[in-house]
Symmetry: none
Subunit: 410 residues, 2 copies
């Protein structure tokens, strides 16, 4: 079954809003084993819109559209649909009744036009906004017309569209997928090893998704039964797990900050941070996780050497002799913040985020991180590429992974 998505609206092409509907619909379809074959964005303009919709209907079995259903003058979608499916726009009494129920006397003339719909359309109820969706069932083709705002179309997708498409697949095949998230290995390395690993595997496919210091491996499987698909994914998943070992930090869409949060909580371990070059970013990521106050005591963002000395007890000689960006200072900061906070672990990070402040000996991107548990302190030296925000992000990713690997080793 070939499915195309057409997203409609000038605002998408003018860059006024980010088109998140592609990812929203793509990922929802994937859950029922379907994939978007293509996607296009067209402006609110009659000719271009009609050409795009007719082309998509020619090529595909199912066409989904989003947007272009608002009551304002530039929304031409309904006219185009009437032209394509050769019908008139008519007042739909149930839709009008629903609008009257929700708006009462405040129902404006403009919103009232939302109840005028193409006669051949079956209505998809919109419980959030005012624009109903439509299904045009012209066997063997199907066109599904949805409003643009994600919060309106999401419930419509889940309640009406996905069940309908699931039924249509109905070839007995079941789709399953499994994602492993890795860190500490580059994309090309992961690709080479997966390629080798999957050479003799049939029935399971794979894809990679690279982010800074993170590569996701996604296994997909289409099988005769759910049991068969699950079994295949479990078998091949096992191979992937032994191939990448502790480079795998999570599954599905787990974030590394959530993974270490869970580990800290389970092991009843507390942590405090001393951040210099990352400027609070690591702590902000850790505190994005609900319940992080259970294991995070606090952080000192010590941009000044004065605080490194006064609050974190880094000896003045260390700062003078080795500089704030040094293995020695990182170690002292980690030990200091652990001690003053009374935490089990202390993590420190100091480096040069750039663009200025670098030298031949200590270039931009040089970042030291240290982790202390009271008995010993490990220091890691990194050289990161990228601009200031990228150096900060890469540093946070590697530092969070340093915590994770320490916890694994316990």
């Amino acid at each position: 079954m070939r499915i195309e998505l057409v997203t409609i609206g000038d605002e998408l092409l003018l860059g006024q809003i980010v088109n998140s509907n592609i990812a929203l619909i793509g990922s929802r379809l994937l859950k029922i084993g379907l994939q978007l074959a293509a996607q296009a964005t067209v402006p609110d303009e009659l000719t271009a819109l009609e050409a795009a919709l007719r082309g998509a209907l020619d090529r595909s079995d199912v066409v989904i559209t989003t947007g272009g259903l608002g009551p304002t003058a530039d929304d031409n979608t309904k006219d185009v649909l009437c032209s394509i499916f050769e019908c008139q726009a008519e007042l739909d009494q149930p839709v009008l009744d629903d609008l009257l129920k929700r708006f009462g006397q405040k129902l404006s003339e403009t919103i009232r036009t939302q109840a005028v719909v193409p006669a051949k359309a079956r209505i998809i109820e919109n419980s959030v906004g005012t624009a109903p969706g439509f299904i045009f069932d012209q066997k063997p083709k199907l066109m599904i017309v949805l409003p643009g705002p994600p919060r309106e179309l999401t419930p419509m997708l889940d309640k009406y569209v996905l069940p309908r498409l699931s039924e249509m697949v109905g070839n007995g095949k079941v789709f399953r997928q499994k994602t492993f998230r890795t860190t500490g290995i580059g994309e090309s390395d992961v690709d080479r090893r997966m390629h080798q690993l999957m050479k003799s595997v049939t029935g399971v496919g794979y894809g990679l998704m690279a982010r800074p210091h993170q590569v996701d491996v996604r296994l997909t499987c289409l099988a005769e039964s759910a049991e068969r698909a699950d079994q295949l994914l479990q078998d091949i998943g096992g191979l992937v797990e032994s191939e990448f070992g502790d480079n795998i930090f999570g599954k599905g869409d787990q974030k590394i900050e959530a993974v270490i949060g869970k580990m800290l909580k389970e092991r009843n371990i507390t942590i405090a941070l001393a951040e210099s070059c990352t400027g609070g970013l690591i702590t902000s990521r850790i505190t994005d996780i609900p319940g992080s106050s259970d294991y995070l005591n606090g952080t000192i963002v010590s941009y000044s050497n004065q605080w490194k000395h006064e609050l974190l007890d880094v000896p003045e000689e260390t700062l003078k002799q080795h500089g704030a960006v040094s293995s020695e200072s990182a170690r002292a900061m980690a030990e200091g913040v652990r001690k003053i906070s009374g935490s089990d672990l202390g993590l420190a990070i100091t480096g040069i985020a750039g663009p200025t402040g670098g030298s031949a000996v200590k270039p931009v991107g040089l970042v030291y991180m240290a982790l202390s548990d009271g008995e010993s302190t490990t220091v890691k030296k990194n050289n990161f590429r990228g601009d200031r925000e990228m150096v900060k992000f890469r540093s946070s990713q590697v530092a969070l992974d340093m915590i994770r690997r320490y916890l694994l080793s316990l």
Copy 2:
């Protein structure tokens, strides 16, 4: 001039990442008075990709592509380009030299393939990632091929692509725009006031772009000469400035953290922060700005009450009597962090980011912020809507604005 964008990659259609390149490129083009006529996403699949690119080249004067240039096996774009432009892929020595300079001996075979490029392409240097971009100049058609990651393609757009397209427009008309960024007023309020203001204006248009606690007003003008356009925008811009006054925090794409950074630096004022519910986010935003170490002494992220007391000198009675989330604790935290850091200003923030921890009296989203200058301390109480990350972000936005308004009042 008709411009189409083709975004390439399975990951976009599978919903693994949100396609932000449409908005990025759409808005960048708009700055030079150009618009995307259409956009399409195609998978990493030879036949579909070649058909999409050939179709776009037929219909349009300029085709821009993003993605599909990585070194992994599923990136087929270069093969398709060689087929469309009838040339071979060859090793480009300058690209290889640049990669060798950046990777040295660590340059893998896979990354080395990035230096193999279609012979008819002019290279667009990629200073962030490993995949160079290409320009195919087949008058009157132009094809511009860029890598997928926004961080890589943005500098390439700004440095090479937009100047080249600007040159091509050359129809005698000059496009200019001016953006004002406001905070502290809602979108519908801004819209109503702009509508009123622009009623009698001709030759200048406007558009709004709303973000959490920020509404951008964009004035656009197409005129016979640069002087005429600049004059019109200056005149109307003046009206906008007097309408919104100090709700305008910046122009163009200035961030509020950059604006307060500049103000602090100019006035030679230092600051320290005590963050609780925002968990380091405000400090991370402040430290995204190069040179922020000149005015930021440091931050204490005091997740625990112990640190609020021990490090920030918040009296135990205050914490006990009013709670950590209270006007009194916010005040004491701001005064404490100012004093212990020896800074001119102390900013504190304490609240309930959720999803748990709220009560009838102190609901999720309740956030106190305090700013102390040693003579007096101002406390602001807020009730923010949204999930944990949204409450954190809204808090950071309003806190940064609190600093800005204080500095304006000096």
